[in-house]
Structure formats: structure tokens, C-alpha cells
Symmetry: C2
Subunit: 251 residues, 2 copies
């Protein structure tokens, strides 16, 4: 399942065994999933420093590994799987603010407490750094800081799009936007079929809808011939064009 062939550094693999815990932080993967400046910024000589600081962690589906409001001790980089980030109200209402896939950084917050929770959607692998060490790394690798700024800026753009979706789009527009987003983030296989790792409940909490509305909307799209809903979590986009015009409210 972990696709090492997609690693652009495959020619000179860099698997490092962690003495302390016996796990292998795969910096190749950590850096390359999104081709980025951080990769070229990290020289062979620096790898030792990084390997000291990082611990590879495996999180099973459904396990919450960042609790909103807890002290922000660690900083993460996702290497495989999907994480849901969320905020909740005291009465249980929950808003998923984003899904983080391979390459995403978690725990950027400046505050000393996590501002959100994080839970594994499927099996998730991630590199964990203590924030203390992370601070040191940023001092030594200024280009890493630039990489983080880039990442944060991208997330900010995504957040603004999501605010437009949550504040002003109809249920149909929301679901169409979501399917297209997922398709554009490489979760699409050859036949245009999408494998959604998350449940209807997660989608609902991400789109500010209820499970029932998500389900009904998908059924409606299927009836319209826009999509094909397969067993489990597979969805085929039959008319990307119509979904796009729907997502932007052009009808």
C-alpha cells in the first residue's frame, strides 16, 4: 500500500533506523510527497539532526492523537493515510476543519495549546517532533521555515474557500465542491473513481450538513447521472463538468 515508487528520491534511498524506538522515519517520504523547497534545503549532513528529532508513529483508524485544548507538545508531519482535524462545541456539535493527507504538517499553532483536535480516518503514519526540537530545527534550517509559511498560506486559501462553502453554498453545491476537491487531491484512480476514506458522518461534519442531507444529495446526484455511488466508499464522477458548474452555483 505505501507506494515507494512515487518517491522522487528513490535513486538514493534514505531510510534511517531510530536507535531509541526502532522505527524508521522516512524523510524521503516526509519531504517529497509535495515537491517542495524543504527537500533541496536538507543536505545529507543534516539528516542526522533530523533523525534525532523525529519519531515515526503509527495511528490506528479512529484514534484521536491531538486533543483540542491540551498542551501543544508535539509537531507532526503526515507520511501516509488521512487525518481529520476538527473543533467541537460543548454540546457535541462538531466541525471538521480539514482533512490532512501525506505531506501535511500539523500543530503549527503559535499558542501553547492545540487549537483543534486530530483523529486518524484510516491507518495513519506520521513523523513526530517535539516542539522544542522543532524550534531548534527551524533556527538551523531557515528554508524549512519558508516551507512552513508556504504550507500555512496554502491552508489559509483552503480555509477561505471552505468559509465561502460553509457560509454561502447550498447543500448540493457543497457536496459537488467536496467531490471535486477530493478528486483534485490525487485520490482519483484511473477510471475517475474516487475512494473516500471518510464516512458520511465525517463528510457531513466537514460540509456543515447532516448525514441524511449528504446521503440524499449523493442520491440526487446519482439520479441526475452526475456520479455513480459504488459499494463502500467508492464514487465515480461521471460528469466533472456538471459538478463544476454546480459547485460554483452556475445554475
Amino acid at each position: 500500500m505505501p507506494d515507494t515508487s512515487s518517491c522522487q528520491f528513490e535513486q538514493r534511498p534514505r531510510r534511517l533506523v531510530m536507535g531509541a524506538v526502532g522505527l524508521q522515519p522516512d524523510f524521503c517520504k516526509m519531504c517529497n510527497v509535495r515537491p517542495s523547497s524543504v527537500c533541496s534545503a536538507i543536505e545529507d549532513a543534516d539528516i542526522a539532526r533530523l533523525s534525532e528529532a523525529a519519531v515515526e508513529t503509527i495511528v490506528p483508524p479512529g484514534r484521536c492523537f491531538i486533543e483540542e485544548g491540551e498542551p501543544a507538545t508535539d509537531f507532526f508531519n503526515v507520511t501516509s493515510g488521512t487525518v481529520k482535524l476538527f473543533k467541537a462545541l460543548p454540546d457535541g456539535r462538531r466541525q471538521i476543519t480539514g482533512f490532512a493527507g501525506p505531506g501535511h504538517f500539523l500543530g503549527l499553532a503559535v499558542s501553547d495549546r492545540y487549537a483543534f483536535g486530530a483523529e486518524a480516518v484510516d491507518t495513519v503514519r506520521l513523523c513526530r517532533f517535539s516542539r522544542e526540537r522543532m524550534r531548534g530545527l527551524l533556527d538551523d534550517f531557515p528554508r524549512m521555515e519558508r516551507r512552513l509559511l508556504e504550507e500555512a498560506s496554502n491552508e489559509l486559501v483552503a480555509a477561505q474557500n471552505q468559509m465561502l462553502l460553509l457560509g454561502r453554498k447550498t447543500a448540493r453545491e457543497r457536496v459537488a465542491s467536496f467531490l471535486l476537491d477530493q478528486a483534485n487531491h490525487g485520490e482519483l484512480n484511473a477510471a475517475g473513481q474516487l475512494h473516500l476514506p471518510m464516512t458520511r458522518g465525517d463528510i457531513a461534519d466537514y460540509l456543515g450538513l447532516t448525514i441524511e442531507t449528504v446521503s440524499r444529495t449523493l442520491s440526487w446526484m446519482r439520479a441526475q447521472g452526475m456520479i455513480d455511488v459504488g459499494k463502500g466508499y467508492a464514487i465515480t464522477l461521471l460528469s466533472q463538468e456538471r459538478l463544476e458548474s454546480l459547485a460554483e452555483g452556475e445554475d
Copy 2:
């Protein structure tokens, strides 16, 4: 109106006259409105470089100075006034993604196009940099990059809170959250009275509601004795406590 007494660097004022345009970029203000690392990072010797790069601009109320989708040529720092940032759908539906006050940076986006529009709510003063120059400045002042990362992280937290608001809160909870946010951002005068620079329409577009719902909700809060709605844009918070429990859905 511009409150120079709040400038923490008042002891050694640094007003620089721009030869080219005859305007005065006030770096003191630009840096200090939020006490930040960038200030200590900028030495006297660097000021010349900054003054070369920045142009102070005054934007009248209602003027749109960033158009969504246009080439992202400039980078801004607000020195006074309030800016609304927004995204719109083709049919005119509009979502205000945030209000930017003194100290905020605009135009962080990595892309070569602006991902959002920006319009002055009241009279706005800002420092404008070309992105090209900004890039050079970031190379020379790494601490400025750290400051931007901090800023972006804070905005990300705010965006997550806003997603929770837009996706899961009721109209009453949204308006209560908004009033408390505004109060916490220093827009509060001695008597707990809040001066909102924006119209009901702006508030509605920020909270994902209609003008009518915002108006009705404020009337309801007044009837409940939570607030007092004065003439124009002044609002007094009579029971911050009740507003807080309302904002978090505890009732």
C-alpha cells in the same frame, strides 16, 4: 484619530519621507501595533532598505483595492482602519472571510493571483510593497519570515473558529461570538461600548446570514437585556457572561 501615543517606539521616532512619492511610511506603527519579533529584528541600518520598498497608501471607505483573481503584484500591511476580505460566487453571493485591522498583513498567498478580494470598510492606511521586493526583504530579514509564519498561524486558528461558527452555530450563537470577538480585539471603549465600523450587510456576509437575521438577532438580544443598540454602529455589551455562554451553545 491616528493614536501615536500607543507607539511603543515613540522614544525614538522613525518617520521616513519617501522621496519618490512624498508619503511617509511609518514603520514604527507598521511594526508595533502588535508587539512582534519583527521590530527587534529590524535594525536602524535596515530601515533604508525598507523605506525604499514601501509606499504608504490611503484607501477611502468602500474602495476595493484587491480584486479576487487579479495578478498578485503587491503585499500590504494595514496601519490604520479596517479592511474586509471576501470571496464571492458568480451569482453575487459573498462571504467575508475576515476583517483585517492595524498590523495585519495582506496578500500572503503563494499563488501568483490573489485568492480573495479586499475592500476598505472605513478610511484605511496601509504600507504597500511589491511582492518582488518583499521576496528580497524576506531573504534579508529571516525574522520577518518567522513573524509572517506566526501571523499566518494565528489567522489559521481564527479561520478554524470561523468554520466552526459557519458550519455548526445558530444565528444567535454566531452574532454573540462576533460581538465578543470584536470586543476582544480592542474595539471596545471604556464603558464596554463597541464601535463596529462595518454595516449590518458586512456582518451578515461575515456570519453567513442575511441582513434581516442579523438585525432581528440584535433586536432579540436587546430584548433579552444582553446588549444595548445605540444609534449608528455603537453597541454596548450589558452581559458579557450571558453572551459567552450563548456563543458556545451552553443553553
